[in-house]
Structures are given as C-alpha cells and as structure tokens.
Symmetry: C2
Subunit: 491 residues, 2 copies
C-alpha cells in the first residue's frame, strides 16, 4: 500500500512523516518512563510566580514550523518548571487524580484513532466498548442491571445532566419545548442538597436556569451528613410556599470531609415525595467495589442516578466521569435532537450516545477504562483502594495520638481533616492563622501538597490518600514534615 | 532517587513498572506508526453489524489482571474491526477531524502529566500555556486583543457557555441567583439563529431553560445564509408579542452546506437591538487564518463571542474547542463560584479557568495546540487548509461538468453538496431514493465515507475535504467511485 507521506512537505501538505513520528514517539515514551522513574525528585508544587511560565514563551506564533527537538527541549526547559505533579506520591490535595501506565497507553491509542463516538456508525467499537466497560464497572459497584451508563467528561457535567433529567421528568410542564422563563403557570423549582455538597451542583442549577435560590442546602449532623428529617421538613415547607421540589442530590464522599449522606433514608423520602434522587459519588464511589465498603451506597437501587469518576480514584487519566441512571429514556427525552445530517439507518437498533447529552463530539474514552480494568483486574483495583484506606487509618491514628493535632471530622475513607491545636492555644482566630501558616509552610517545601477547607468556620487541613504511587513511607514523610513545620512555627 | 516501583505488585499496589511501560510504550508507538503507514489499507467504514464488537468481549470484568500482550492483541482482533477511520484520507463525511503526529504526541504527554488546569495553582504551566496559545491563535485569526479565549471540550459546550453569558448579560433579571422558572415578572426569552444552524444551538437552549420555543429560526436566502432583514423583522415582531430577544447566533460555515451568514450586517442589528452576538465558526473558522479568507468573519469585532474548533480542521485530536469573547467578565459572572476548598492565595492575580465554565476538571489541552502550531508553523497550517480549498474546487468543478451530477449549494470552503441527477430523471422522490442508494453503495465499498443532508426537502450528498492526509488522488478516487457506482445503479 502506497502511503501519502512521500508527498509530505512541512510547509505545504501532509502529516509528520511516519518515521519521524516513530523516532520522537520512542523518545517521548522514554521521557515519560523517566518522568515516572524520577517523579519524587520533582517538587510536587512548583515554586514559581504568576507570569513566570508565560514570560518564557514567545508572544507570537512561529510562521515556519519548528523541529520536534526544539519542542521537546522546551518541555523540560519551559513547561516542567510550571507543572504541579498530580502523579507525585505526596500530592495529597483536593481529590487527587493519578495516571496509570495502562491508562496513558490507552490515551495514546485513543488520540491516534481520534474516533468520535457520537453515533454508533462513527465508530461502532467506541460505542460498544463503552457499553461493555460500563456494564463491567456497574457489576464492580454491585449495581443492578437497571442502571444504564454513559461517559461524560467531568462530574460537573454528569450531575448537570442528572438534574436536567430530573427537570425533564416534570413532563407536564414541557420544559424542553417551552423553557422555564416567563411562564406564569409554572411554579419555581427547588433542588435539595446538603450544606457540604460540591459546588458543581450549584453550577448545574445556575446553568439549567434553576438559579441559586432554587437550591436549598439541608443542614448536616455533626458528622457532616445530610439530616433526612431536615430534608423532609424543607420539602414540606417549600411546597407550602408554592415551590415545586423536583430533585435531591445526596453525596457519598463530600469534598471537604468525605462524609456519606444516608442515601437509603433520603431515597425513601424521594420516593414518597416523587423527587429524582441523584447521588454524587464522584470521588468515593469507586470504594464501593470493595465488598466491605459497599454499604456506602446502601439504598442506591432506589436512586435515579449516580455519578462516579474513574478519573479520580481509579488511576484513569482525566477525563472520564460516568453517569448511571435507571431512567435513560428520560435523559434521552431531554437531550435527543437528530438533525438530518446525523441520521443513520441504524438509529432504531443501536445506542447513539449523542442522544443522551449536550455534547455531540465524544472522545473514545472507554478505551482507557478497558485497559485499566483489564491490566489491574478488579481485585488489583480493589486492593489498591483498600491500601489507601489502610494508609488513611494510619495517618488518622497518628493525628489522634499527637497532642499537637486534632482530627476535625470522621474518616470514612482516606481523606483526613485535621488541624494543629497546641494545648495552650484556644483562640479560634489564632488557630485559623496557625493552620493556614502551617499548610503554606508545608507546601512550600515542595515535598508534599495539602489543601484546606473550612468546617464550622474553622480552617482545616485536608490530607487525601488516593494516588497510585502513594505508599506508607509517603504518609510517614507527610507526618514528619507536618511535625517539623509545626515545631518550627511554634518555637 | 529511589522509586516506588520496587514494591509493585499487580495484585496489590503500585503502577505498571516503568520498564514495562517503556517496553509496551515502544510497541504501541510502532503500532500507531504502522497504523498511519497503512491507513489506506483499512476500510474507512467498518463492515459490521450492531452487536458484532460486543459479542467478542467478555460479559464480566477480569478478577485477575491481564498482560499488556493480551490487551494489545485484542486491539487488532476485537477493536480494529469496529473502528471508523477518521484519519483515512477518504473519510469525507460530517466535518472531519484528523489527528496529526505532533497532536498525538502531545496527548501522550498530557495524559502522563495528568495535570488538571482548574486553578492556576493546580498547574501554572497549563493555565499560562492556555493563555499563550489562545493568544497566538487569536493573532492567527486576525482578531483584536479585545478577544479573550478559553478552551472547552466541544463546540456544543462552547456555544452553550456563550448563550449562558448572553443570558447573564440581562443582569436586571438576576437569572444566576433567581433562576428562570415561576417568575411572573420576567418575559420569555428568545434566541435567533438561522434555519441552517447546528443542532447544538437548540441543545444549548434546551439545557439553559430557554426551550425550543425560545429559538426562532430565521429563513435563509438561496445560498443558505441568514437573511438580515428577516432577523430584524422577527425581533420586532417578538418584542411586540412580549418576548425578550437576548441573543443571536450567526454561523460561519453551516453544517449542511458551510454557508456563511453575513456577520457584519447581523452584528449591526445586534448592536442596535442590544443583543449578544455569538458566531459559530466551529468548523470553518480556522480558514480565517488564510488572509484571503479572512472576509468570512468580517464584522467579528462587533460580535460578543466566537467558537472555533482546532479539533475539526486543524489536525488536533478531539477534544479542543475555543471560545473567544470580548466579555469574559460576564462569562465569569455567570459561572464563577469558589468554595473554600478551592480558594488560593493567588486568586486575585491569576486566571483560574474554572471560574469561566461549568466544568471544574480541565485536561491540559493547550499542549496539543502548542505542539501543532509550532510543528507546522502558521504558514504550514494555512497552506494545508489552502490545499483543501483547492481540492474542494477540483471536486466542485468535476460535479459542475458532469451531466449526471449537480451541485446543490455554493462551495465557499471545501464541503461540496451535490446529488446525482441523470438528465431523464425529474421525479424528486425518485431522485431522493437514487441518491440515498448511491451514498450507501459508495460507502459500502469501504474506500470512501460520505454523509448526507437535506436541502429544501432534497436528499443531498456531502463531500468534505478537511483531512490532513487527503490529497488530489483521493479526490480522484472519490470521483471514480461515485461515477462507477452511479453507472452500476443506472444500468
């Protein structure tokens, strides 16, 4: 077979010649391998100022093409100094997302195919592998066959789609057709979620035209879990005041403390009140693949939808968020819109994933999920998460035993909320300042990266163990640095 | 530096060992290189039935990890037979998106870093490279410095954000806070776009609570361009009927025919009527980097926002869609929401891209744009697009000269709408059937992939030339197959 590349001209036509791709591809694979080999030699958090990276880059694009040598050289010289290393074993901030070897290799392949899975026809393998891997993952989570899944990019988008489906379920109002604005016959809409819910729920509500006032934040108990009786009370109150409650978002693993809302009880309320129940388990949901942890989604079969992100705690390169729903027909009703130019003869017998969301273009994301589940196996994945839970326990116990620190929330997973609290210091303002100083000073070492939250007005440090490369020694290092920095500050 | 991998155990902890990654990475690079070398030996469109791929895959996930050999073997055996080859030089369907070598290598690197660009702090290089590359691309398009850019995943999402900003601009109604539903004091909202606009505009309107009724489709002229006087008339009429017009979406390169709405005239109407003007140039916008083609966005400086997708006609692996806007403050006002756990000390002096959209997690997408612009150079990219325009002209001329075919729309770019029209056949119903049959029969050769649209009720074939590997000989092949298949059908 003759190839097109004999006509390649950098200035005029064609892709990078295959032999050049091969050469630089091999170099880049070695570069990435070396990067992972030496990952601990990099500062987790770069020590630079805003504008430092920009100032090293030309202000105008090159007219003539440059060599791959030049470009790769700049990765080391200009990009690496500005990278926050999410793969570093001591990245313990936010909810971490680490890449794994099989996930990276799958992304290489997926970029090469560049298949767009909008329709079955536009790459049958992309659609059918999505069906198969999401069914595998459904089984891993212990969900029944009533749940149907779709991959979106992020949990924010998954949850937005869930709330949109909840809105669509109010079919008598024909929101898809008639919209929400300026209709005197419809009531204002209300969503319920806890005070600890992720900001994406509010963003979803803003986007969908529900508005911030359309979200009621239900108080939490002293373990930061939504209080079902308060939810019930709020719904009754709102109905009396003319609001139309339509959706509840429960969280399994809230962002600040990973608290677990009582899904089972909340689900019963939703059933009685005929509200769509969406469960945001973006970070913690994967823990349900461990049988002893399945309790975290107790009651899930009564929920309408659930989001879990393999790109958070399952070693999958961003982005890959999964929405499972028992009501795919309603989701499709909300979003399906097939112009002539996208009609195919198979439309009635296949899944065209574009029908289930706002995005038309869809990367071949299931490939990485498939590589990862196959390479590690379900037991391998479960055991890695178990090990994180074990390490979380070690750190939590250290905090508990250390008279200079205190635990600020229960630890159902491997995220520990704590603060320094020397025995003679009880001024809350000063404690807040001390802890902010401590966190900044720990982060400035470049050896570890923690972030914070506020709980009941108190500045709290969070340490999250969910990285693929994090081992006991890294937790020990975190403890050592925390202890040393606190001593430094206090003396 | 000690690495973590000496503790690797597939069943329990750690990532794929670095040497294994290196080994299979090299294998995969060779696989991809061979794939591109032999791209023309694959059928563009796979010859399979729904369910064929699924039936070859296990119904349950493996408990024990499998070897990379096994997994890669299944790429050839189980996945490849179901791939629609978007990279094939004779993929001439939809709006094509082809991967380039530098783009693929950048994606490998981006998956390896797995940096999340939600905040400046979470990877300063990701944020600052996004600023720099979008400023480069802005210059390439000839846009003034008034335009500020952000990368989203798809044009559907970019346009949704533009319409959301338009909605937010109606600040007196406080939609972000109060929502749209059940408010007796607000009017119904109206967006205007042409009959030929992409379905994503409607999906955006559905999502945002505007509803399908909130979209008015303005008639087009005989070259499929929005008629400004009709737009003006519609706005007046709607205002008189109590609607609140707030946004117009003009298209530069509509999906069916790549017609170009008169942006300049539309912009003047929007200015007078105080409406947000969004320009959807997702596919065709990149052509504006050719100076002779810059006229396609004449008047753009009066528009409020513009979407262009490098992942369509600029050889960038999906996904990478850019929204430029002159009003980033309004976009931020619509979407910014910073919970405590995402606050950083740099918030006031840096761009945190998460503030400008619904998505929190953000892949390091600017890397591929940077690789591609640098590798090909601005002239190299422009010349590739010029060559597509040249090839489009060749095909259009062939259609024009061939008595059995007719051109069904003007060809401002390299998308040709045509149909078979034998001189003795004038029954429209039969012509529709003939052309559907012709398209299916051409596609069934596996040598070329075309799609269709309908124009004024007529079934029309579309041939799109925008692939990185498409040369004159591929256009000749398309002509030959079309001619032969038509002869076959007619005899």
């Amino acid at each position: 077979m003759k190839t097109t590349e004999n006509n390649f001209s950098k200035k005029n036509i064609g892709d990078m010649p295959v032999e050049e791709f091969r050469n630089f591809g091999h170099q880049l694979i070695d570069w990435v391998a070396d990067y992972f080999q030496n990952i601990e030699s990099y500062p987790v958090l770069p020590n630079i100022n805003p504008g430092d990276i920009k100032s090293k880059l030309p202000k105008t694009p090159p007219v003539d093409g440059e060599s791959m040598e030049e470009i790769l050289k700049d990765i080391d010289g200009k990009i690496m100094p500005g990278i926050t290393h999410w793969n570093h074993p001591n990245f313990m901030a936010y909810f971490n997302s680490t890449s794994s070897g099989p996930g990276i290799l799958a992304e290489l392949l997926s970029a090469a195919f560049n298949a767009n899975g909008m329709l079955w026809k536009t790459s049958p393998a992309a659609t059918e592998l999505e069906e198969v891997t999401l069914d595998w993952f459904r089984q891993m989570l212990g969900l029944s066959e009533n749940f149907w899944g779709i991959i979106y990019d992020t949990a924010s988008v998954s949850s937005m789609h869930a709330i949109a489906a909840a809105r669509e379920q109010l079919s008598e109002y024909q929101f898809r057709q008639k919209g929400l604005a300026g209709r005197k016959e419809i009531p204002r809409l209300k969503i319920y979620t806890s005070e600890q819910a992720h900001s994406s729920i509010e963003k979803g509500a803003i986007t969908l035209g529900i508005g911030i006032d359309g979200i009621r934040k239900i108080p939490v108990d002293n373990e930061f879990r939504m209080i079902p009786s308060q939810l019930e009370k709020a719904i009754t109150e709102d109905r009396e005041n003319g609001w139309l409650p339509f959706c509840v978002v429960a969280t399994v693993g809230t962002t600040s403390t990973t608290s677990i809302d009582p899904v089972n009880e909340i689900a019963d309320i939703c059933k009685r009140e005929k509200l769509w129940l969406h469960v945001d388990a973006a970070h913690a949901g994967v823990a349900a693949i461990i049988p002893e942890m399945r309790f975290i989604i107790d009651g899930i079969e009564k929920a309408d939808s659930l989001v879990v992100n393999p790109h958070k705690w399952m070693f999958t390169p961003v982005d890959l968020s999964i929405l499972y729903t028992r009501k795919p027909k309603i989701l499709k009703q909300a979003f399906s819109l097939v112009p002539e130019y996208l009609k195919t003869s198979e439309d009635n017998i296949v899944i065209n994933y574009m029908d289930y969301g706002i995005q038309l273009g869809r990367r071949f994301r299931s490939l990485k999920l498939w590589f990862i589940i196959r390479y590690f196996g379900t037991e391998g994945i479960a055991n890695r998460i178990k090990d994180h839970l074990r390490l979380g326990k070690i750190f939590a116990e250290w905090i508990g035993q250390n008279t200079n620190f205190e635990k600020m929330a229960p630890v159902p997973f491997s995220t520990i909320c704590f603060r320094a609290h020397p025995q003679d210091l009880n001024d809350e303002q000063k404690l807040n300042e001390l802890n902010e100083q401590l966190m900044n000073s720990v982060n400035s070492t470049g050896k570890i990266f923690l972030t914070h939250t506020k709980l009941n007005g108190k500045f709290v440090c969070r340490l999250v163990i969910s990285g693929l490369r994090t081992e006991e020694k890294h937790v020990m290092l975190a403890q050592e640095i925390l202890q040393n920095k606190l001593t430094e500050i206090l003396t």
